[in-house]
């Protein structure tokens, strides 16, 4: 999995690309978040548009990241969740935890 980082109106947008499935992905994602928090960023939007699929280990990575950001006083929200990825959130009941958006403008405004 690759992570592309950009910033917009005080919100850091992390564009994930590939498959979210554990292994080195966990350290990559967590290290990215810890660096952002250390730099003072608190609002994180994770764009899943280019994520082919997520397995249960990948869900764990997102949960860990969510907890890390929330503990720092910020929030982690999702953008462009495909139907396939959405289904795994539904089965896991994690759609009740993660706030997701399909429109980037709306997602960025939600942090205001």
């Amino acid at each position: 999995m690759k992570i592309k980082e950009r910033s917009r109106d005080g919100v850091v947008i992390l564009e994930l690309n590939g498959k979210l499935m554990g292994g080195p992905d966990a350290a990559t994602f967590n290290d990215t978040l810890k660096t952002l928090i250390h730099e003072g960023h608190r609002n994180v939007l994770v764009d899943l548009a280019k994520v082919d699929w997520v397995n249960s280990t990948g869900l764990g990575i997102l949960i860990s990241g969510y907890s890390t950001v929330r503990r720092s006083g910020g929030d982690l929200r999702l953008l462009n969740v495909s139907d396939r990825v959405e289904s795994i959130f539904m089965v896991s009941k994690l759609h009740t935890v993660f706030v997701s958006y399909s429109n980037e403008d709306e997602a960025v405004r939600s942090f205001a």
Binding site: M21, W53, N55, G60, I88
Partner: protein
């Protein structure tokens, strides 16, 4: 690829125990099930379940030892797609398995996902002693 009126067709694959290869069963199902009378949602669900089974086989069954292989059988039949996943681990007591508590737990969702995304899910040991998971998605009824 086979049409529904053709006999069953079997595809067999051996994977090293590396997460890198989890995309292989997904690619096979996406490529070969495309012509079969399933909704994309059904294929996505089966593929997600098979990825979970392979993740468990690599991590818990084979202990991520690359020399230990995960064997996959994809049986495409007129009425169902049956995927068998075999690993070289001891297996576990599936009948008495209970999902861990806690919505925010970071592990322990794989079996729930497999159950929800398949029409039939069975665990047992193959005659040669390997741990075996079978995942079935049935053809939608044509009413």
């Amino acid at each position: 690829m086979s049409h529904v009126n053709e006999p069953s067709q079997l595809v067999e694959v051996m994977l090293p125990s590396r997460l890198l290869f989890l995309g292989v069963p997904d690619a096979i199902l996406m490529e070969l099930a495309g012509d079969l009378p399933y909704e994309q949602k059904d294929i996505d669900e089966l593929s997600t379940a098979v990825i979970e089974a392979c993740t468990n086989a690599m991590e818990h069954g084979n202990g991520m030892e690359q020399g230990r292989r995960v064997e996959l059988h994809f049986l495409f039949s007129p009425d169902e797609i049956r995927v068998t996943v075999l690993d070289q681990g001891p297996g576990f007591d599936f009948n008495n398995w209970q999902p861990p508590d806690g919505l925010m737990r970071e592990r322990g969702r794989g079996i729930t996902i497999m159950r929800e995304f398949t029409d039939e899910l069975t665990y047992d040991h193959a005659p040669d002693g390997r741990f075996r998971v079978q995942l079935v998605k049935r053809r939608p009824r044509q009413d």
